[in-house]
């Protein structure tokens, strides 16, 4: 170990595999080549305003300043460590846009997360472990959270009202005056034609295939659901 990499954790301590420098450079290049990257990073005064405003920095060993700096310096070793350890702590509130230099550390993290997902990094697998149901819901129904998710065993910390909602769900939904809100498995009633168009968007933009590595089972289920529905409409991909 050289002096320069002495502060990085050994793979057996870090909990993820180290990779050759070239692989780290490739991942960094993928982030840097994203069209949003140049809009998100201009340089860094090291003033720390982003850290002062950051909610995640208060509760985790996390710093939006270090994210901006690693990206600006093209420090691919630190960048790789952040991809594996830091990026999923971010709250994506974009309080860090208070940056006097006009940086967007939260936006850089959005891209880093996408690259972590697309390349099946250990951190992405871990972060999305409990998240499959949500991805299934948004990609297959076009709404992110649904009334029937409000189950007391899923949200025990939300108080007894969650049990009340769950127990009376169908009745309380039918009591809502807007016609579109009588649903229980989606936030509102989404038209069939609209869903077909959404499925085509997921296919044509590669968004569906992004999860192929990180969650092959979920990817297979979603692909089947969408292809079946598109076939019914006589649409061939």
């Amino acid at each position: 170990m050289t002096m320069t990499d002495a502060h990085y954790k050994a793979p057996q301590v870090a909990g993820y595999a180290d990779v050759p420098l070239e692989e780290k450079q490739r991942l960094f290049a993928e982030v840097k080549n994203d069209i949003r990257f140049a809009d998100y990073l201009y340089g860094c005064y090291e003033c720390g305003i982003c850290v002062a405003a950051c909610p995640s920095a208060r509760f985790y060993d996390f710093s939006p300043r270090r994210i901006a700096q690693a990206a600006a310096r093209e420090d691919v070793e630190l960048f790789y460590q952040q991809m594996q350890e830091d990026i999923w702590e971010c709250s994506q509130c974009f309080s860090c846009l208070r940056c006097p230099r006009g940086n967007n550390p939260g936006g850089i993290i959005t891209i880093m997360r996408e690259v972590a997902v697309g390349n099946g990094l250990a951190s992405a697998r871990e972060a999305l472990k409990a998240y499959s149901r949500i991805i299934y819901k948004i990609m297959s129904t076009g709404t992110q959270v649904s009334p029937d998710m409000l189950q007391p065993d899923a949200f025990p910390d939300w108080g007894p009202e969650t049990s009340d909602v769950s127990a009376h769900l169908d009745l309380w939904r039918r009591a809502l005056p807007p016609e579109t809100l009588h649903t229980t498995s989606t936030g509102w009633a989404v038209a069939d034609k609209t869903l077909i168009e959404l499925y085509l968007i997921w296919h044509h933009t590669g968004a569906l295939d992004m999860i192929a590595d990180v969650d092959p089972g979920l990817h297979a289920i979603l692909a089947e659901v969408m292809e079946e529905r598109l076939e019914e409409e006589g649409i061939e991909l």
Partner: protein, 397 residues
């Protein structure tokens, strides 16, 4: 004597100098119209009476009053439906027509910010598909969710800046038989409430002067693409967004400030669903307890899906640790609806909330036990099969 290598330093800085094409867009509307003139996209115009308001750096923004296409919110419709219902109810009471579409998907940005299982092209295509659907009806889009609003502004910037993204989205839209459409202004529902606060005040029937309010401004409303949010020099000296506060003050509530107003609520997108220890801690320690210590509010008003959910739901577990919590949380749309005489359960659907809202109702002079009995009587119609669904006539009857 030291010679400062100015030229060398300047060369090093070149990489980070913002060219004109990378500066914040001063007037996205003008950019859109320019692109439309070149045949790159279609701009949906404001075509009904509008109210002019000022944005952060002084640009005029027009808020169309009627003929609106309601872009609903996943979290509002799914978990706090009285939020959406109150928006519709207030609009109906003021006599403005609208469409509540089925041809609408989520903006999918909650997932984009939480799991990153999407990309810029997909996000832009989802946004434009929804805008094209609104354009087909002739109704102007009104965005319910703060995250949808913030994200759509990001998408608009990306589409304006990147011709290759426009080309990709145009190609996808062509496959759907739609043009690339963007509205001339991206408008959040809380901007509509702010712009129409005098009309809302004119229909007020309940006194809220005895109610102390703190406001949580939603991050994705005013931090994402900040130049588009509404500011007013008469509200916080123009140093914070004017929405929500402007309405609460207009209605006569006692609006008080607190030191952590800039902090987010702790929602975190992925955290609220799969890492709630962070969410609960942040919401209670940095927001609710600070508000209680410094302002002692009866109710926290906010204007986004995640903020209502987080601040409301995070308080229950904190009681087990003896924390100083226990403040009602609702949207300013629900608060305004109550002030205008809305039913707390039939319209505002407060039984979906967790923190105790009943003391606020009592201060408004509402008998919540009687109100619940009225709601139960309506539910009985559904249980007995006399009606399959309740509708707006039941609510206002």
């Amino acid at each position: 004597m030291t010679t400062i290598p100015v030229e060398a330093l300047r060369r090093k800085k070149d990489h980070f100098e913002r060219g004109e094409d990378r500066r914040a867009l001063e007037d996205p509307r003008a950019e859109l119209l320019e692109l439309e003139a070149k045949g790159e996209l279609v701009v949906q115009r404001i075509d009904r009476e509008a109210v002019s308001v000022a944005t952060k750096y002084g640009r005029e923004k027009r808020i169309q009053k009627s003929h609106l296409w309601h872009h609903k919110s996943c979290g509002q419709c799914g978990h706090i439906p009285g939020y959406s219902t109150s928006i519709f109810w207030v609009m109906r009471k003021l006599g403005y027509d609208y469409v509540d579409p089925r041809d609408q998907t989520s903006c999918t940005a909650w997932n984009y910010y939480a799991s990153a299982t999407s990309n810029s092209a997909a996000q832009a295509a989802v946004a434009v598909r929804n805008f094209a659907a609104a354009h087909e009806t002739g109704y102007f889009p009104l965005i319910h969710c703060g995250t949808s609003y913030g994200h759509y502004k990001e998408v608009r910037e990306e589409l304006i800046r990147h011709p290759e993204l426009r080309a990709q989205v145009r190609e996808i839209m062509a496959k759907l038989g739609k043009p690339l459409v963007l509205p001339e202004e991206i408008v959040h529902y809380s901007e509509w409430f702010h712009a129409l606060r005098h009309e809302i005040k004119a229909r007020q029937v309940r006194d809220v002067s005895g109610i102390t309010v703190t406001v949580h401004p939603a991050c994705h409303y005013y931090k994402l693409v900040e130049g588009d949010a509404i500011y007013d020099p008469d509200i916080y000296g123009g140093q914070r967004t004017a929405v929500v506060t402007g309405l609460a003050a207009e209605l006569g509530a006692d609006v008080r400030t607190y030191s952590t107003w800039f902090d987010c609520c702790g929602f975190g997108f992925r955290h609220i669903l799969v890492q709630r220890d962070f969410t609960r801690s942040f919401a209670t320690l940095r927001k609710i307890e600070v508000m209680k210590a410094e302002a002692d509010p009866d109710v926290v008003l906010t204007h986004d899906t995640g903020c209502v959910t987080t601040l409301d739901k995070s308080q229950f577990a904190a009681q087990a640790h003896g924390r100083d919590v226990g403040v009602a949380v609702m949207s300013e749309a629900q608060f305004a609806a109550l002030a205008m005489g809305a039913h707390p359960y039939k319209v505002c659907q407060l039984h979906w909330h967790s923190a105790d809202y009943r003391p606020v109702l009592e201060k408004m002079g509402i008998d919540h036990e009687k109100a619940w009995a009225e709601f139960e009587a309506d539910l009985q119609k559904l249980r007995s099969g006399a009606k399959r669904f309740l509708d707006w006539d039941d609510v206002d009857g």
